[in-house]
């Protein structure tokens, strides 16, 4: 138990140092603003993709409305900051909570049932939430969108570095929380639901409860991701959160491997960069993502990583610990 805590702290420390260095590089100007922006966007994409992975990859329930959750989070943050003068952190947490409530409402009628109803209901939710955003003009600015959302800082020089610091910090917290969740008894229960609902049920696991649990947490994280998106972009518009945006996250999860946190992180960076890199293809870009989805499903349904993880800790121990512990560590690494 103590070892776990120590390991967790080591990892957190590594992550903090890494993020700090990255932010410093952005501030000095070694990493230019454009690259910093892509990296930050990748961070947000990864947060939302991780939340999608929790429900689709780990729990096995396909959800197609995460852009809708993101929209709820983004608008909640924007309104909290602009109308009620919430501090940033509180606003982002509020947006997570509000989105989680939406998750509860959607999940309740659909997750009781077997089958693919969640996919179609979340898809419908993603479409409807856009209609609602357009019609609630006093709050959301309607189709014209919401302008002038304050950024993380008013200092223009500091903005890219600070945005990145915010997004990466939240991303790291999400990764740590999720990997701990998966290893906990709750996480095991969630995985068993994915593997076989009937077997899980007969082992005394309340399938509906655990699906709701995963879906609500997933909505919360997606809302937080949306909450970061609002101050990062400074402008919101309902069409930003259309169905194709939800599919972007699905592509990240599928490419990385459904049920792999590391995979999602890698795929998140790769695909966000690729999206910028492929700009020269113009409209043909639109065809690449769906083809990618189809081909991965046909030829390598496990994606890049399957449900394996890369563990920095295992790598660390392999490199620096004595031979005697080697074999043990290897086994632990494989299991992770």
């Amino acid at each position: 138990m103590k070892k776990n805590i120590a390991n967790g702290l080591t990892l957190a420390a590594i992550a903090v140092v890494f993020t700090g260095i990255l932010a410093a590089l952005v501030y000095i100007g070694v990493i230019d603003e454009y690259t910093a922006q892509i990296l930050t966007l990748a961070g947000i994409n990864i947060i939302v993709a991780l939340s999608l992975n929790l429900i689709s990859g780990f729990t096995g329930q396909l959800a197609l409305g995460h852009a809708g959750f993101m929209a709820v989070g983004a608008y909640t943050t924007a309104v909290c900051i602009m109308k009620f003068n919430f501090p940033m952190l509180l606003a982002i947490l509020t947006s997570g909570l509000v989105t989680a409530v939406f998750g509860l409402i959607i999940g309740f009628p659909t997750l009781r049932l077997r089958g693919d109803y969640l996919a179609i209901v979340t898809l419908g939710f993603g479409e409807i939430i856009r209609v609602i955003m357009i019609n609630l003009e006093q709050i959301t600015g309607g189709a014209a969108g919401l302008k002038g959302i304050p950024s993380f800082t008013e200092d223009i020089l500091l903005a890219p570095a600070l945005s990145m610091l915010w997004v990466f910090s939240v991303m790291i917290i999400t990764i740590i929380l999720m990997s701990n969740l998966i290893k906990s008894s709750y996480g095991r229960a969630v995985l068993s639901v994915r593997e076989d609902e009937i077997a899980a049920n007969s082992m005394g696991i309340n399938v509906f409860y655990y699906k709701m649990y995963a879906f609500t947490i997933s909505a919360f994280i997606a809302g937080v991701g949306g909450g970061l998106y609002a101050p990062f972009f400074g402008y919101l518009n309902p069409t930003m959160f259309n169905f194709l945006k939800s599919v972007d996250f699905l592509v990240i999860v599928v490419l990385g491997g459904m049920g792999s946190i590391t995979g999602t992180v890698i795929a998140g960076f790769v695909l966000t960069y690729l999206q910028e890199f492929l700009r020269f293809l113009r409209d043909y870009r639109l065809v690449i993502y769906p083809l990618l989805l189809i081909f991965i499903m046909l030829f390598r349904p496990s994606g890049l990583m399957g449900n394996r993880e890369i563990s920095i800790l295992a790598l660390w121990q392999r490199l620096f610990k004595s031979d005697r512990t080697q074999s043990k560590v290897d086994k632990a690494g494989e299991r992770q």
């Binding site: 689709s56 396909l62 209901v121 009937i198 065809v287 989805l293 499903m297």
Partner: protein
């Protein structure tokens, strides 16, 4: 008087729109009944069918004869597309986890939409669909346009044809057998692959007809036109009881009428939301749908 008149008028509009949803819902329900897959690409087949009809009508002008030709061309093209999609994308995944097939279906759907957008002859901009000049037949205070009559008659005819095929032909018997118990049907010497392909072809042909009728009633075609009707038709299929053919027809009509009544009496912007509301309601109250059977899960 005003209320009754408006109500009857919206009922007429609803029946016409509902018959289109019913045609589309039939495809969802047949495919779901036979391979347990929500075919997300079904709405996009509607779009392809509408474009097939668009090219025929744009080339030869609008006469009753070319309209029938457009229907035939659209249906044949889409039947072929349906078979190709099934053979290349869904068949290899028949024994994979269900979520994989579902993701593939999403991929196919977006590929068709964005592919249509990229292709030069279709392009991203909405095009006007050539259609008959509207002639209204007033019955009392209620106006019925001849397009509404065409939509209704063609849909009903196709539904009768389908019901005949499913209930009274050897192929239909095989379809029912496969959907009832696939391994047993296979053991009885039914060519299961062929029957599944045939089901996709049938569903896609109906979707194409729905697309041409939809485009005649709302004369505009564009690559993303199939998404919302597709979603609503799926709700219709669930409402009627997914897997049940009469259920899909009933669900389609209910959806159409619910939508036009919402448009007439509440708000036109809420018309899309009403479908979603119905779906949530049906999932809470009776997930098996109006005509669906309650099937318990067996190990």
């Amino acid at each position: 008087m005003g209320f009754l008149h408006e109500f009857l008028q919206q009922m007429v509009n609803g029946l016409s729109l509902g018959s289109i949803y019913a045609l589309l819902a039939l495809g969802y329900t047949m495919v779901y009944g036979i391979v347990k897959l929500i075919n997300f690409a079904h709405g996009d087949i509607l779009m392809l069918g509408a474009f097939g009809g668009f090219f025929v009508l744009a080339a030869y002008g609008v006469t009753p004869l070319t309209f029938v030709l457009a229907l035939l061309v659209g249906m044949i093209v889409c039947a072929v597309v349906g078979i190709v999609i099934e053979k290349t994308c869904y068949k290899p995944l028949r024994n994979a986890p269900r979520i994989n097939a579902l993701i593939t279906a999403i991929g196919v759907s977006i590929f068709i939409e964005n592919g249509a957008r990229v292709v030069k002859v279709i392009g991203p901009n909405p095009k006007e669909f050539p259609t008959f000049k509207t002639v209204n037949f007033p019955i009392g205070d209620v106006n019925i346009s001849q397009i509404q009559i065409i939509v209704f008659v063609v849909s009903i005819a196709l539904m009768f044809l389908l019901t005949y095929i499913v209930n009274h032909t050897k192929l239909g018997k095989a379809m029912r057998a496969v959907s009832f118990d696939r391994p047993a049907a296979y053991l009885m010497g039914i060519n299961v692959d062929w029957i599944i392909s045939f089901t996709f072809a049938l569903g896609s042909a109906l979707a194409a007809a729905a697309g041409i009728l939809f485009a005649s009633a709302y004369p505009q075609v564009e690559p993303y036109m199939g998404i919302i009707p597709g979603l609503k038709a799926f709700v219709a299929a669930v409402l009627g009881g997914i897997g049940s053919i009469p259920g899909a027809m009933l669900g389609g009509f209910i959806m159409g009428i619910a939508e036009t009544l919402t448009k007439g009496f509440i708000s036109s912007q809420l018309a899309d939301a009403i479908a979603f509301g119905i779906l949530i309601l049906i999932l809470v109250v009776k997930p098996s749908g109006i005509l669906g059977k309650n099937v318990s899960e067996k190990v």
